[in-house]
């Protein structure tokens, strides 16, 4: 909503600068988004002139040389190119030094050999009108030299307001003036609709039927005859331009002006183009087509309302008029329609049609039926004044009456209870009165009657408290802390585990990614998911922004692959990323199942090339090392069991299990899947973090360790390649007895020395006893048992 400040000041004129007006409005709930300046920046050097002589330019056919009295000692010589300039005219003149709205400073300039000492102005040059066919000719009674700003609105500050959806009353300038009145205490001029030239009573010139009173609670119409369509006077044009509207003709401009002032849209029909002088308001038929003012054909549905005459639809109610009944240059009889429409229905219709207009954006918020009277009064008075119109007596008024709501009790004590600051009863009444609410004192406080234009918004005591608070209370509100009875202020175990896990991965060199919840359904194929795979039970959006964002991700793997592909294409494929986020699975009924997943993805080299050797690449084992680090940090152990996933390398993947519960997967991404994301290869894991958190111990108990140094023994055993390291270690642990504290593979050798089909595992054995330093002889029997157990697996000791 753009509000030219001089216009606003006509109704409420506080002794405040533009900046202070802006501040007061903003701090009382009508946010000023911006202050624009309309027209010239400085009114100096714009004056009224009188053309005393006007002669042809000796060297240019289309230029005239004028002698213009500008109130100075001598007339100014001004070269003018306008076709309509003539001696005897009173004109608008810019003198040297004047700054035009486009920023140029006027200087004396030679035009074809003659120095021009100023410029005779057109409407568009100073943004006071839309006419561009020549110079402005002013009324003759203005004295030469009079500042132009006294006659024309050549400069105005314009407030751009953010009006919240509950306040359509502020989509009219008088509503903003009332706010300014309440916010500053400056007097408010009487409402401009109090003097209505019209009358109630029957009106025969037009016949109106409303078939859908649910969508059209009120419809009023008046008829004006002897209308002369012409351009509007400049004061009106200037105001419309400053408010962001294009002047069209006096009739249309008056309807727009009345809307800007009252907040109530209205529409003028050419009565001679309304077939049968009949208007019928009805629901559209599904699929019905109407051609609107902009020449477009629109397809309607049964939730929309059209206005028919005898020849069919003339407009889409509340949204856009029809071409057929439009006011035009030779219009003489006008039907002025001012109606009230159901806000939500208009909102739905304008959204569905993709058509938002100044009218629909007001109607959709729900206006008061009483506002119809305001707009009729303002528009009729102006049509009479500006278009020479004669208003026929009577008003068509089809009004589905509604009961006035009951007054609301505002308890004085309740105001301070909610705000935390006292506003005394007298002040409450004063604020409410300034905002247009009537109130009378009752025992507990005030009994308040809500004015029509606020009835949608203010229905309860707490709404009145807000009215009081926003005018007085909020600005000087003290800052206190609540009592916080019973407030604890701590994270849950699960929340702490989540943070610890994320920190661990970040600490190990991974960057956390935050990907999209949205995914492309094609991702399911790229992940090689078979039909019927549970991961295909995705949540699908009904109204996605695009097909590629139409499902919710069933796994973080696809998000991470997206992030990895983005980076691989820009800075190369060496990446270590993790994500901690929600994944979704559709269920047969009710809401989706949501899991908090933690996933890591490694691609390419694990560390940059170094002058002291090359780090390994991302593979199953590097992913497992990361997983071990993570579980170590969480004080949790896991086991892997061989398992295949469609998106993982079948030989290099496993299920992660904790206490026999499956919590996720680990492995190398299937080469076909990596290829689908243009990655050379990748490895990673994913875990159900919610389930993991349950398994993570809450309290750690001290485990005693021996004060005596441990004894380490290394052995190398040659085993069949098919025997896993895990089997060997299990055999060792089973045979060793209590003194063995740790058994760990630290080297693997495959090659000629051990023969094809075999490999050698070097295993570090660590023994310790709680009560003494072990000697070699103490562990020899255990080592012998270990060797025997390995032999049972077909293993032989090397070296």
């Amino acid at each position: 909503m753009r509000v030219p400040l001089p216009w606003l000041r006509e109704y409420c004129d506080p002794p405040l600068s533009t900046a202070d007006v802006e501040r007061r409005l903003t701090m009382t709930g009508t946010k000023v988004e911006a202050v624009h300046h309309h027209g010239v920046a400085d009114v100096a050097n714009f004056v009224v002139g009188h053309v005393e002589a006007c002669d042809a330019h000796p060297d240019a056919d289309r230029l005239r040389v004028c002698a213009v009295d500008v109130g100075a000692a001598h007339p100014a010589t001004i070269v003018c190119g306008a076709p309509n300039v003539a001696a005897g005219q009173t004109v608008a003149v810019a003198l040297p030094g004047a700054v035009l709205p486009d920023g140029t400073t006027l200087r004396p300039a030679k035009l074809r050999g003659i120095v021009s000492e100023g410029m005779i102005l057109s409407e568009t040059e100073i943004e006071v009108g839309a006419g561009d066919e020549g110079i402005i000719v002013l009324a003759e009674n203005a004295a030469p030299g009079t500042p132009l700003s006294e006659l024309l609105a050549i400069a105005a500050d314009v407030l751009e307001l953010e009006v919240t959806p509950n306040r359509p009353d502020c989509l009219g300038l008088y509503g903003v003036a009332r706010e300014l009145h309440a916010a500053t205490g400056a007097p408010l001029a009487p409402a401009p609709w109090l003097a209505d030239p019209g009358s109630a009573g029957p009106l025969d010139a037009v016949d109106v039927t409303v078939r859908c009173p649910d969508l059209c609670p009120r419809f009023t119409a008046r008829v004006l005859e002897d209308v002369t369509v012409a351009p509007s006077p400049l004061w009106l044009q200037a105001r419309l331009i400053a408010a962001g509207q294009r002047p069209i003709s006096n009739v249309v401009d008056v309807t727009n002006y009345a809307m800007l002032l009252t907040g109530q849209p209205l529409h003028a029909f050419d009565l001679d183009r309304v077939e049968g002088a009949e208007l019928t308001v009805r629901r559209a038929a599904d699929g019905e087509q109407v051609t609107t003012l902009d020449g477009q054909t629109r397809t309607l549905d049964a939730g929309m309302v059209v206005i028919d005459d005898d020849a069919g639809p003339t407009s889409i109610a509340a949204i856009m008029g029809g071409e057929r009944s439009e006011v035009h240059a030779r219009t003489t009889r006008v039907v002025l329609e001012v109606a009230n429409w159901d806000g939500p229905a208009i909102h739905r219709a304008s959204s569905a049609l993709g058509l938002r207009s100044e009218a629909s954006s007001r109607f959709e918020k729900g206006l008061a039926p009483e506002q119809c009277d305001w707009a009729q009064a303002v528009a009729c008075a102006l049509l009479i004044e500006l278009c020479g119109a004669r208003l026929l007596p009577g008003t068509v008024d089809i009004d589905a009456q509604r009961p006035a709501p009951a007054p609301i009790t505002l308890r004085e004590q309740r105001v301070s209870a909610i705000l935390g600051v006292d506003v005394e009863r007298g002040r409450q009444a004063e604020i409410l009165a300034a905002l247009g609410f009537a109130s009378e004192p009752v025992a507990e406080g005030l009994l308040v009657t809500v004015p029509p234009e606020r009835r949608n918004d203010v229905t309860r005591e707490v709404d009145l408290i807000e009215e009081v608070a926003r005018i007085d209370g909020l600005e000087d509100l003290p800052a206190r802390l609540p009592a916080r009875r019973g407030a604890a202020g701590r994270l849950t175990h699960g929340q702490r585990v989540k943070r610890r896990a994320e920190d661990e991965l970040a600490g190990r060199g991974l960057h956390e990614a935050v990907g999209w919840s949205f995914a492309d359904p094609a991702v399911l194929d790229r992940l090689r998911l078979a039909p019927g795979d549970p991961l295909r039970d995705v949540v699908t959006l009904r109204n996605p922004l695009s097909e590629s964002q139409s499902i919710l991700r069933p796994t973080l793997l696809s998000s991470l692959l997206d992030s990895a592909a983005h980076n691989a294409a820009r800075t190369g494929p060496d990446l270590a990323l993790f994500e901690s986020g929600t994944v979704f699975r559709a269920t047969a009924a009710g809401l989706a199942e949501e899991y908090h997943e933690l996933a890591a993805l490694l691609c390419g080299a694990l560390a940059p090339a170094s002058w002291r050797g090359q780090a390994g690449g991302a593979d199953f084992y590097s992913a497992k090392a990361l997983l071990e680090g993570l579980f170590g940090a969480l004080h949790l152990s896991f086991t892997l069991s061989r398992e295949e996933w469609p998106f993982l390398h079948p030989g290099r993947s496993a299920a992660i299990e904790v206490a026999d519960a499956r919590l996720g997967w680990i492995g190398e991404v299937h080469p076909l899947v990596a290829g689908a994301w243009d990655l050379p290869g990748a490895a990673g894991f994913a875990l159900d973090l919610d389930a993991l958190a349950v398994a993570v111990p809450r309290d750690l108990q001290f485990v005693p360790f021996s004060p005596y140094p441990p004894l380490r023994r290394d052995i190398a055993v040659v085993l069949d390649s098919g025997t896993s390291a895990g089997d060997a270690l299990a055999a060792i642990r089973g045979a060793a007895g209590d003194a063995l504290k740790d058994a760990r593979v630290f080297d693997v050798y495959e090659g000629e020395q051990v023969g094809r089909g075999h490999r050698s595992l070097a295993i570090a054995l660590t023994f310790a006893a709680p009560d003494r330093t072990l000697a070699d002889s103490d562990v020899d029997p255990a080592v012998e048992r270990i060797v025997a157990a390995l032999a049972e697996l077909g293993g032989t000791l090397r070296g």
């Binding site: 946010k31 909020l474 604890a488 996605p544 800075t571 979704f584 940059p608």
Partner: protein
């Protein structure tokens, strides 16, 4: 015999003094004092001497041995010190070479960092952290939050629908109801989480993150909201920040306010030191950071009485405040990130900056 001892002693002294390094010195130690060296042999054979010679020879030999031992030790420390000095001199590292093997610095996403920081501020103020479902019912997302059946936010253009009565939550506010359903008053919670709206441009992405706050008891006022958010503003933007509440409109709070924090870039003046307009607050001196208000009585009325929340949330007895803030907005303000869409690209060149 004594002469021989003195001779050995003299020779040894010279050689020890001349020893050039520790290895040579060790050889000398063996040569002069080893098992087969002359002086120890002589000492061992003292018993074979005539009784009158035993005393003087033994003493002389012992004395000689002790002196040589002392000389060897002294020379050894001297040489060791010199050698250490030489090795230190030679072994200087090129301190400008990169560390090896290289260790990557990882990072938490700026959204996570910011979210955790905000959580911590409110934890410190006594709030607990709750999370809730992102796929939400229309009831919790709109109906129970006092949105009229025709409220525009429900439109397909403003909300992602999964089914007729299921949406992707458009805010974290549905958890207000879920939290009150599960816990009795008093209640102090913050609810971080991902939310969704069908917008896409430099300042809107179809997903973003909010932190909802809810404080409910019998006497929680708008002044308490202001104090709580003042603590938040100072923790995030600096100790000199002020907050102001501006009236606004939200369906689920009444009164509703927008909360501005004095600009940390220009100290709330609107202009920089050189007189130029502050680019961050655009000369206003204030930055809009969140929406808030006193919980609307209709929201309390929408909370069902359950076994878990007795005595329930009677709007005549219970009141409180709520706010919803955008995590990305805070992160962008603080770190100067110009485009919201950068947040979800996961370009490592952005990730590694935080």
């Amino acid at each position: 015999m004594i002469e021989r001892i003195e001779q050995l002693r003299g020779e040894a002294r010279e050689q020890i003094a001349a020893a050039g390094d520790s290895a040579e010195l060790e050889r000398l130690r063996v040569a002069w004092l080893g098992r087969r060296a002359e002086l120890p042999l002589l000492l061992r054979s003292v018993g074979e001497l005539p009784p009158e010679e035993r005393g003087p020879v033994g003493r002389a030999a012992n004395e000689a041995r002790r002196e040589l031992e002392a000389l060897l030790d002294a020379r050894a420390s001297e040489l060791a010190a010199r050698e250490l000095e030489a090795s230190i001199e030679q072994g200087a590292a090129d301190i400008t070479l990169p560390g090896a093997p290289p260790l990557n610095a990882g990072s938490l996403h700026v959204i996570t960092r910011t979210r955790r920081e905000l959580e911590d501020i409110f934890l410190g103020l006594g709030f607990t952290v709750l999370e809730g479902p992102q796929v939400e019912t229309v009831h919790y997302n709109f109906d129970a939050l006092n949105h009229a059946p025709t409220h525009p936010a429900r439109a397909l253009t403003d909300t992602f629908y999964v089914s007729e009565d299921t949406v992707l939550r458009t805010h974290t506010s549905p958890m207000q109801i879920r939290a009150m359903q599960a816990h009795p008053p008093p209640l102090y919670v913050v609810i971080p989480g991902r939310v969704y709206r069908p917008d896409s441009d430099a300042t809107h992405t179809p997903q973003f993150h909010q932190i909802e706050g809810l404080a409910v008891d019998e006497d929680i006022t708008l002044a308490d909201l202001k104090g709580t958010l003042l603590e938040f503003a100072r923790a995030v933007f600096g100790d000199r920040r002020e907050v102001r509440l501006r009236p606004h409109f939200f369906p689920f709070t009444e009164p509703s306010v927008e909360v501005d924090v004095s600009c940390f870039n220009c100290e709330g003046r609107g202009t920089l030191r050189d007189g130029a307009r502050c680019p961050l607050c655009k000369g206003e001196g204030w930055l809009e950071v969140l929406g808030a208000g006193e919980v609307d009585p209709n929201v309390f009325a929408a909370v069902p009485d359950t076994d878990a929340n007795a005595p329930g949330y009677d709007p005549e007895r219970i009141q409180g405040f709520a706010w919803g803030l955008g995590v990305e907005r805070i992160a962008m303000l603080r770190h100067g990130i110009p485009d919201l869409r950068l947040m979800f690209e996961n370009d490592v060149r952005l990730l590694e900056q935080f």
